[in-house]
């Protein structure tokens, strides 16, 4: 009997996908490291300067405060939304989440139109009511806390829904709900809270737009300033190093303290979790939560609307946006589509690989996602700015490549969750029957993971849409994205036009999110029909 022909050959596909993802994201970091290694004494001088110490203090202070405050507020909101019968809690979750999908500096503009010297508050209560500390640490903490609180709220909400209901029931036989939450639920969701705090810390460390707007110097603003304003590559590289180290430290905490401790179960199980009746506290708690959402999310947007004024401003804003609006949409769509394909292959590799390699690859991917956009941007320019590569470096393609490198790990993670939820048997049965791996991928895995893949696409799309840090560092003339356009208009256009264009951006994001919500609901309904 002749040996059967091997049909299970995923390796070329998987390594190909991984190679492209790493080429886009990790290769640009190589010239950055080489450049740093070649000039160690000069970099040491830069890093030992008093200026670097101040930047380090500012960066850690800002990231630490935002991470802690958003962790505390987000945990409270997560418990209220995830466990209680708070009125209209799912719409509340939607409202609170919205800022996460906007470029944080748009929120800063909104807050300024409320708290600034000629903002809503000053108009209502007099000039003395303006928030004097908006420009500085106070404003940065306020804006970024608003932006990143949803991370903790959602991670806690999902983690609470993943708790085995019998763990709570066992406690409910002995004591009341508040003690059940305090002694059972909160300790069990502690890893999720830790992860949320860490994610917020890493994201704030790399944040450029808000610190730049409120004039609070941190490492990322310094990298951008040295690179874009002074064309001082050496200083930019030097200031990138502490940023990269801070992100690495954060990742180290994630890998060694939180690894394997954050577990989210499937939605099927979550249906059975008990809801805490708030009783007489329902109305006050609902009012408080909605007041928080109103003040932190709706009020800044109202501030922008007021500042933008009438329709003429919007017309001027759209004229000012030029082609950047359409360009941003197609660039983000192209990048997101590529990311989902690569993310599926890389997610498969991570999900199905042996433990040790899985960890190394997962850490590398997480590093690419966590790398500050400004740092990745400097690396991309050092890598692609070469003779013969102007078709990449001098076009919108450089931004698309950057996004693919930066955000593919996110798509891979979401695709991996979808793949991980499938029983290994669905593949093994096809393999035993001699079906080729590619066919199994397209006929079995992709259809079964449709909701996860669609979710990955929308997430990747929105992250591209909101990106400022990477795009503003690398955009070539004539290829600026909408966030970059808004950011540059802030310096040389009226506040009304900037506010109007920010609202265009808010509207675009809202349309995408509503589309995603409807699309995902339809896909999930389709999947449920399979039983």
């Amino acid at each position: 009997m002749s040996a059967p022909r091997a049909t299970w050959r995923p390796t070329p596909w998987l390594t190909g996908g991984l190679a492209i993802a790493l080429a886009a994201g990790a290769l640009p970091l190589v010239p950055l490291a080489v450049s740093a290694a070649r000039d160690v004494p000069a970099l040491a001088v830069e890093l030992a300067s008093p200026r670097a110490a101040v930047l380090l203090l500012h960066t850690i202070l800002l990231a630490g405060l935002v991470a802690l405050i958003s962790g505390v507020i987000g945990t409270g909101l997560g418990v209220l939304i995830g466990k209680t019968d708070l009125p209209l809690r799912m719409p509340l979750a939607g409202v609170l989440t919205f800022p996460l999908f906007l470029p944080p500096y748009v929120l800063a503009l909104g807050w300024f139109s409320v708290l600034g010297s000629d903002g809503l508050l000053a108009a209502a209560l007099g000039p003395g009511a303006a928030f004097r500390f908006f420009f500085g640490l106070g404003g940065a903490v306020l804006v970024l806390t608003t932006a990143y609180t949803p991370i903790a709220a959602h991670l806690v909400r999902i983690a609470l829904r993943s708790i085995d209901p019998t763990l709570e029931e066992a406690a409910r036989l002995s004591f009341r709900w508040p003690r059940v939450v305090w002694r059972i639920d909160l300790p069990l969701v502690r890893p999720a809270v830790g992860l949320a705090i860490l994610l917020a810390f890493i994201l704030v460390v790399g944040e450029l737009g808000v610190p730049a707007y409120v004039r609070y110097p941190v490492f990322s603003t310094e990298v951008f300033t040295q690179f874009a304003a002074f064309l001082n590559i050496r200083a930019a590289v030097a200031m990138s190093l502490p940023l990269a180290l801070l992100v690495l430290a954060g990742l180290g905490v994630e890998r060694y303290l939180l690894r394997d401790r954050v577990r989210f179960s499937s939605a099927a199980r979550a249906i059975t979790t008990a809801t805490i009746p708030l009783g007489t506290w329902r109305a006050p708690a609902g009012a408080l939560a909605w007041a928080y959402a109103g003040i932190t999310v709706i009020l800044p947007l109202v501030g922008l609307v007021v500042r933008a004024g009438g329709g003429a401003t919007y017309a001027a804003a759209l004229a000012g946006a030029g082609a950047s609006l359409i360009r941003t949409v197609w660039m983000a769509a192209a990048a997101a589509t590529t990311m989902v394909i690569l993310g599926l292959l890389v997610g498969y590799l991570v999900e199905r690989h042996r433990r040790s390699r899985h960890d190394a690859l997962d850490t590398l991917l997480l590093l690419l996602f966590a790398a500050p956009g400004t740092v990745l941007g400097v690396g991309l320019i050092l890598f692609w700015n070469r003779p013969g590569l102007a078709w990449v470096y001098g076009s919108a393609l450089i931004i698309v490549v950057g996004w693919i490198g930066h955000f593919t790990p996110l798509a891979a993670r979401v695709a991996g969750i979808g793949l991980g939820s499938l029983a290994p048997g669905v593949e093994e049965a096809a393999r035993l029957a001699g079906v080729r791996w590619e066919r199994v991928l397209f006929r079995v895995l992709v259809p079964l993971c449709r909701p996860a893949l669609a979710g990955a696409w929308f997430l990747a799309f929105v992250f591209c849409l909101r990106d400022l840090d990477l795009a503003v560092t690398i955009y070539p003339p004539g290829a600026e994205t909408l966030p970059v356009r808004v950011y540059t208009l802030m310096a040389n256009s009226s506040e009304a036009v900037t506010a109007a264009l920010s609202l265009v951006m808010v509207g675009l994001t809202a349309v995408v999110l509503v589309g995603a919500w409807i699309g995902l609901a339809a896909l999930r309904a389709g999947s449920r029909a399979w039983g």
Binding site: A170, A171, S174
Partner: protein, 344 residues
């Protein structure tokens, strides 16, 4: 009157009714075993008694107090004096055995008393050496004991147990059945124990209630249910048996097997019956008056369970040696009981 009473209880989950006019009395100081097929509503009965759900209609009474009624939980779970050992144990992964027990003791219990009772409960289940262990570092049997200790440390009026031994290997299950039995006697606990395992039903139960499609089909001591089932469902649920159609006539039974002794007249005077023939009541031997063809034989270890068939009947017998399939075996029927041919 029972310590727990469910009166005319109805309950449904969104897609299906679970309990349908169920009434049940659970006696104080005894073990009542609730048996029934998957989906018959056994665990739901425990959840109603614990107070996690209210009955849609009907009421649940503990002692003299109505604790739930017509869609409302009147007394919350924590005030009912009830403990529950969950099927998956529901041990809190972040707490040690000692912390688990101290947590469930009310804060009103003084610290010293809490410590003493924790030690007592750990000792009662033989876990003195594992007080500082978390669930992840305990074996299956030890976790079971922690769950049991958590349930008894509060000195509950009622202990509910939801298939707590379902995931254990047979020797450990047997050992724990004996331990639970001893613990119940020592503490005079009232236990309502859900299972579909025969060993637990007969080894633990002072009483058993057989549930079928959300109703109690029969209640009584397990042995009585086994020997005098009121329906074909109860007869076949509590052990392997053949149900042979039979007609009562002139103080005896006419069946496809021939004439069989009628143990007692049908209380409702029905003549169309089913003769329940259990394997242990079929005596295989060359001098038996009946014969049947061997369809198949399955080794049970100590004996072979043989499926025999003849015209219009099929039954199981226990044989000391493995018969050849297709051969003819002679046998006698020592005893039968009858149940109505159709559901009452």
């Amino acid at each position: 009157m029972g310590l727990i009473r469910l009166e005319g209880v109805h309950f449904r989950y969104p897609r299906a009714p679970v309990l349908d006019d169920l009434s049940l009395d659970v006696r104080a100081g005894a073990v009542t075993v609730l048996v029934g097929a998957s989906g018959s509503g056994k665990s739901t009965v425990l959840r109603l008694i614990a107070g996690f759900e209210p009955p849609a209609r009907g009421r649940v009474v503990i002692g003299e107090e109505t604790v739930s009624r017509d869609g409302r939980v009147l007394i919350p779970p924590e005030a009912r004096g009830v403990s529950l050992v969950f099927q998956d144990l529901a041990l809190w992964p972040h707490l040690t055995a000692r912390e688990t027990l101290e947590l469930v003791l009310s804060r009103e219990v003084p610290r010293e008393e809490r410590r003493r009772r924790t030690e007592e409960a750990l000792a009662a289940v033989g876990l003195e050496g594992h007080a500082e262990a978390r669930p992840a570092s305990l074996s299956g049997g030890e976790r079971q004991r922690v769950a049991l200790a958590r349930a008894i440390v509060t000195r509950p009026r009622i202990l509910l147990m939801d298939e707590p031994l379902a995931n254990l290997d047979p020797p450990l299950r047997r050992a724990l059945i004996e331990e639970i039995r001893q613990l119940q006697r020592r503490l005079t606990l009232t236990i309502l124990y859900v299972t579909h395992n025969h060993e637990e039903t007969f080894g633990l139960g002072d009483h058993a209630a057989v549930l079928r499609a959300g109703r109690v089909e029969q209640v009584g001591p397990p042995r009585e249910l086994y020997e005098r089932p009121r329906s074909a469902f109860v007869a076949s649920f509590l052990g392997r048996c053949a149900l042979v159609p039979a007609r009562a006539r002139d103080g005896g039974l006419e069946s496809a097997l021939g004439a069989l002794p009628l143990p007692r007249p049908d209380p409702a005077g029905r003549s169309e019956l089913l003769a329940v023939v259990r394997p242990e009541d079929v005596v295989v031997g060359d001098d038996g008056p009946l014969s049947g063809k061997v369809e198949r034989a399955m080794c049970l270890g100590s004996a072979f369970e043989v499926e025999l068939a003849g015209p219009g009947w099929r039954l199981w017998a226990l044989a000391p040696a493995e018969p050849v399939p297709g051969s003819v075996l002679r046998f006698a029927i020592r005893r039968v009981v009858t149940v109505p041919a159709s559901d009452p």
